[in-house]
Amino acid sequence: MELDSTKPLIKIDEETSDFIAEILEKGAQIFPKEELERILTCIQCGTCYGSCPSGRITAYHVRVIMRKAQLGLKEEVLKDENLWNCTTCYTCQERCPREVETTDTIRLIRNMAFEAGYVKKPHLIVSRNFIETGHSIPLRDEDKEKRKRVGVSEIPPTTLTYPEALKEVQTLVEATGFKEKVLKLLEEG
């Protein structure tokens, strides 16, 4: 029998996964749903893992995460710190013979991990910086000196120069619920 690559190998039903259904539902807000559904056609060939720069030095294994997602092992996937070792280089996604949107699926699973509180402290600090200044990293005195030396304005013409622009960004992060999520996680330590 020949495999039909257009048909899912796994069917979503109660025995398999609410987890995949959740990934697809959340993902559809951003990505085309039919592309994300390709996860159901994964044949565990391992091309992803074989292409992964993090996979060869850490226990981050894309193939395994795709399988665990199919099997509905949500908690196990979300709480595994290795989930955060993906550099989002997209090599696995480009090479996947089943066109599974591996990297974007990892980003979606990370969104769920973040929401569930499985998050690294440095990432919360980057987030706080963004909420407070509009940038992911601070402008230090030594950076201002560097800026002067190369002949550009001491402070860049971004949210750092325009407080009304920063206010706009802060209104948006409140409206999307991102600020609340980050502050809650920071409080919980």
Binding site: P32, P53, T88, R147
Partner: protein, 295 residues
């Protein structure tokens, strides 16, 4: 006159402002007008903020894009990360009116709107399409002959291909084409397509893993006998330059491979003063200038 709004991002203006200065000088040299994108924020970073909350990522990206739309100008960027976020957000919002409507409902709270009429071009595209390889070649004032350059594309200029649309991610050649036009020699090395290691929040979340990837890449560059590693991305630039200091301090590994951004290499060949291109602002000194007789 071709014009773009210059999207700065975070790493260039806040850590490597030499890249910002070099871009302005080189674009002026080619008569490309760069407008300030006043009030822009972090793009927000695709692998970091995209990993935390994709909805928030899309909304904030749309605001940055809308700033360009109010100037009636495409944005341009010298960072693959900023490019990834803004190009992908542009693509999503251009293709899907229902997503655009939902995003604009949020943007209406700050009296902004984004119709996906303008988007973003990577500085590589400005060099390749607006200026053109022939024009670059004929504008060279200081040939870089003899300079061996290890080209690094980074991940997000090329991938994902179906959204970026720049052809093969396994055998790209545009950066080699530009390097050759400047008179320098692109050297082949085994790990050319390897990620710098910093993306996806790995640099912030697991520095040792990020540095291990960086070290693998740099060892390959060293083996090929390159004089420098060239990149088109502020974040890769940061990882290669600052990363070498971290590798020395944390692991005792010494590479001393100078790091140069595409805009800086083009600037050098256009005869622009190395100091004003920010070449002395890196952690690793620009030893290749000796070879070129520029120091």
């Amino acid at each position: 006159m071709t014009k773009y709004a210059f999207f700065l991002g975070c790493i260039a203006p806040l850590r490597y402002p030499g890249l910002e200065a070099a871009t302005k000088r080189v674009m002026q040299h080619f008569n490309i007008e760069l407008l300030d994108l006043n009030g822009a924020s972090c793009c927000p970073a695709p692998g970091v903020f995209g990993s935390f909350d994709l909805w928030n990522w899309l909304v904030v990206a749309a605001r940055n894009l809308s700033l360009g739309e109010s100037l009636n100008a495409d944005l341009t960027t010298i960072c693959n990360g900023c490019y990834a976020t803004l190009q992908e957000a542009w693509h999503i919002l251009k293709e899907d009116p229902s997503k655009r409507r939902r995003v604009n409902e949020v943007l209406s709270k700050i009296n902004r709107n984004y119709n996906a009429k303008t988007g973003i071009k990577h500085i590589i595209e400005v060099f390749a399409n607006d200026i053109g390889i022939d024009k670059i070649k004929s504008s060279v004032e200081k040939s870089l002959e003899g300079l061996k350059v290890a080209v690094h594309y980074g991940c997000h200029f090329l991938k994902p291909r179906k959204i970026r649309g720049h052809g093969s991610s396994e055998k790209p050649h545009i950066l080699e084409d530009i390097v050759t036009a400047l008179g320098a020699e692109p050297v082949h090395y085994k790990e050319k397509l390897l990620c710098c290691g910093a993306g996806g929040g790995v640099r912030a979340g697991n520095l040792d893993a990020a540095l291990e990837i960086t070290a693998r890449k740099l060892a390959s560059v060293k083996e090929a006998g390159a004089d420098c590693i060239l990149n088109p991305c502020s974040f890769c630039h940061f990882q290669f330059d600052r990363g070498q200091v971290e590798l020395r301090e944390r692991k005792g590994i010494e590479f001393n491979i100078p790091v140069i951004h595409l805009v800086q290499l083009v600037g050098l060949a256009m005869g622009i003063d190395p100091k004003s291109l920010g070449l002395y602002e890196n952690e690793i000194p620009p030893t290749y200038l000796d070879k070129l007789g520029l120091r």
